[in-house]
């Protein structure tokens, strides 16, 4: 996994976006990461394609959260 998606994956977990009701808006995520929205969307795409994250809401107000697989993968450095 390249650095950007890895950083987003880890950030979603530690910021608590681990269920639909705790999903994080992409703007908020970009703000927390100190990155542009487009860069975050680009990094998110590979996480969503891999089944690690899910997007909810309409374009412009969309939010993202980790799937169970995403949580486990984000934690996989330790066990």
């Amino acid at each position: 996994m390249s650095e950007l998606p890895k950083r987003i994956l880890s950030s979603l977990m530690v910021m608590g976006a681990q269920s639909p009701d705790r999903a994080m808006s992409i703007d908020d995520l970009a703000d927390k990461l100190g990155m542009g929205r487009n860069a975050v969307v680009s990094g998110l795409k590979s996480l969503i394609d891999a089944g690690y994250a899910k997007l909810i809401g309409e374009s412009g107000t969309s939010a993202v959260y980790l799937t169970a697989t995403g949580i486990i993968t984000a934690s996989s450095s330790y066990s």
Binding site: M1, S2, K6, S10, M13, V14, M15, G16, Q18, S19, K32, A50, G51, T67, A68, T69, I71, I72, T73, A74, S75, S76, S77, Y78, S79
Partner: protein, 479 residues
């Protein structure tokens, strides 16, 4: 503390088998308290989790004994009276517990907790929440309490420290409701802060189990994060009255790196739930599911897709295996940060068409996959224990493992498996070809392994752990 007699706790299992049937029908004695408010607590927990005030009526008045309604119903009056004097209340702090399975630690926490509860001890597992898992599970005397971390953290390591505070809060709530524990047991650095705080606030002995160590995971890293993890490991080993290591190799590492007196460290191996592997599996259907055709040889590897697991060596070895056994296929079960890298490696090695990455499998599918395999490879760079090897052995599947850490203690080369040089695709390929091309050898190794693994039961691990708890209670200091 409930240990008011010198009777060995490990005798409970023997005692259970001596109970007469007429005792089972005996009415509940006053001394055997019930846990009838457990459901109330579950409901209250939802409020607590969201930051609302805990209900003050959740007093510990009804929870001053670890002997519950379950004991009363199953054991009867006399047994219950005796059990009250010897049963322990154990707080088990683990960041993973099924269905949150990151690796072997979750299986260990589950197997040990269930076995301790089956011996009559009251076990409270405090762990992190997970999608779809209930916040409270009560199957007395085993209770699982899942904690949500409702505050954001900037990094993984600060998040770990943060969730430890939520664990501390949960421990405090549980102590108020059920009474103080006799033991707090933490697993790896991840729950050391909550364990140490619990020890000093409640003045109860701390036990720490080492499943791995930071110096092994990050041998070349000198990052501040790595230093913090190593520091927490040392702190846990220092504060714990007793330390448990999952293999002899792990014990030596703990003793040498943290200068822990050898007498303070007990070696208690992981175990396997044999019953899980006794189920009948539709091998043909499972193999077809993973596109393994009749007559093809299936090599399976299971684990987190991280550098530690050495799957890159296995993929490189597959190219060599293909030259001798062209109909061999590799099934890689698990997920992790290295997945993309390993998929790319399979392509560059020309074995992508012969390699399937399944991602994480649920427990049922995992057992199916293992039992449908011709062999299981464990090519780890290092492995403090290697619980997956035990599971394959229990399933009657021959194993090829690296000569590292706990794996080398579990598997005897050419007796109950094949042992290969670590970090060597050539050695992996050689052992794999030998195993897949000699059916008699594979059958002999698998049969002996299945016999050997019968000694690795969670009941045995629990009995040994209880001895450690008893010693910890006798030796705990709170300076």
């Amino acid at each position: 503390m409930w240990l008011v007699t010198p009777i060995s706790i490990t005798k409970i299992a023997v005692f259970n088998s001596m109970i007469h049937q007429d005792e089972l029908a005996t009415a509940a004695p006053a001394g055997c308290l019930n846990d009838s408010t457990a459901d109330d607590f579950t409901a209250a927990e939802a409020d607590v989790r969201r930051g609302l005030p805990a209900q003050e009526e959740q007093s510990k008045a009804n929870y001053s004994s670890p002997v519950s309604a379950w004991h009363r119903d199953v054991l009867g009056h006399n047994a219950c009276r005796i059990l009250e004097t010897i049963a322990m209340r154990i707080f088990m702090l683990s960041w993973e517990y099924p269905p949150r399975i990151i690796g072997g630690l979750a299986r260990h926490a589950e197997g040990l907790s269930k076995a301790l509860a089956s011996l009559g001890h009251e076990v409270h597992v405090v762990t992190l929440d997970f999608p779809g898992a209930p916040y409270e599970e009560a199957e007395a005397p085993l209770y699982v309490h899942r904690v949500a971390v409702d505050l954001p953290a900037p990094t993984f390591h600060t998040w770990v420290l943060l969730f430890n505070h939520f664990f501390e809060k949960r421990v405090g709530q549980l102590a108020k409701k059920y009474g103080s524990p006799d033991i707090v047991h933490v697993h790896d650095w991840l729950t050391v802060p909550a364990g140490v705080a619990s020890k000093h606030l409640m003045r109860v002995p701390l036990v720490m189990t080492f499943h791995s160590m930071e110096s092994l995971r990050s041998s070349s890293s000198r990052s501040p994060e790595s230093a913090m993890v190593g520091g927490l490991e040392w702190w846990g080993s220092y504060e714990a009255a007793k330390v448990i290591a999952v293999s002899e190799w792990m014990k030596l590492e703990v003793v040498s790196q943290f200068k822990v007196p050898p007498s303070k460290v007990a070696e208690i191996p992981n175990a396997v739930d044999m019953a899980k592997f006794e189920k009948t599996v539709d091998v043909e259907a499972t193999r077809m599911k993973w596109n393994v055709q009749p007559g093809e040889k299936l090599i399976t590897a299971v684990g987190r897709l991280t550098s530690q697991k050495g799957f890159d060596y296995l993929i490189r070895a597959l190219a060599g295996v293909q030259k001798s056994i062209p109909d061999s296929k590799l099934l890689v079960v698990g997920d992790g940060y290295m997945r993309g890298e390993l998929e790319a490696l399979a392509k560059s090695e020309g074995v992508a068409a012969r390699t399937t990455f399944t991602g994480f499998l649920n427990e049922g599918d995992l057992v199916d996959a293992i039992k449908s395999s011709d062999m299981l490879a464990v090519p780890s760079r290092f492995e403090p224990f290697g619980i997956i090897a035990l599971e394959a052995m229990a399933a009657g599947v021959p194993v090829v493992v690296s000569r590292v850490g706990g794996l080398a203690e579990i598997v005897e080369d050419d007796v109950d498996g094949l042992v290969m040089d670590p970090n060597s695709p050539h050695s992996i390929a050689k052992a794999t070809i030998r195993l897949l091309s000699d059916r008699a050898l594979a059958s002999r190794l698998a049969a002996r392994a299945k016999e050997k693994v019968k000694a690795y039961t969670w009941e045995h691990s629990a009995a040994k752990t209880l001895e450690v708890y008893e010693a910890a209670i006798g030796e705990a200091r709170y300076e």
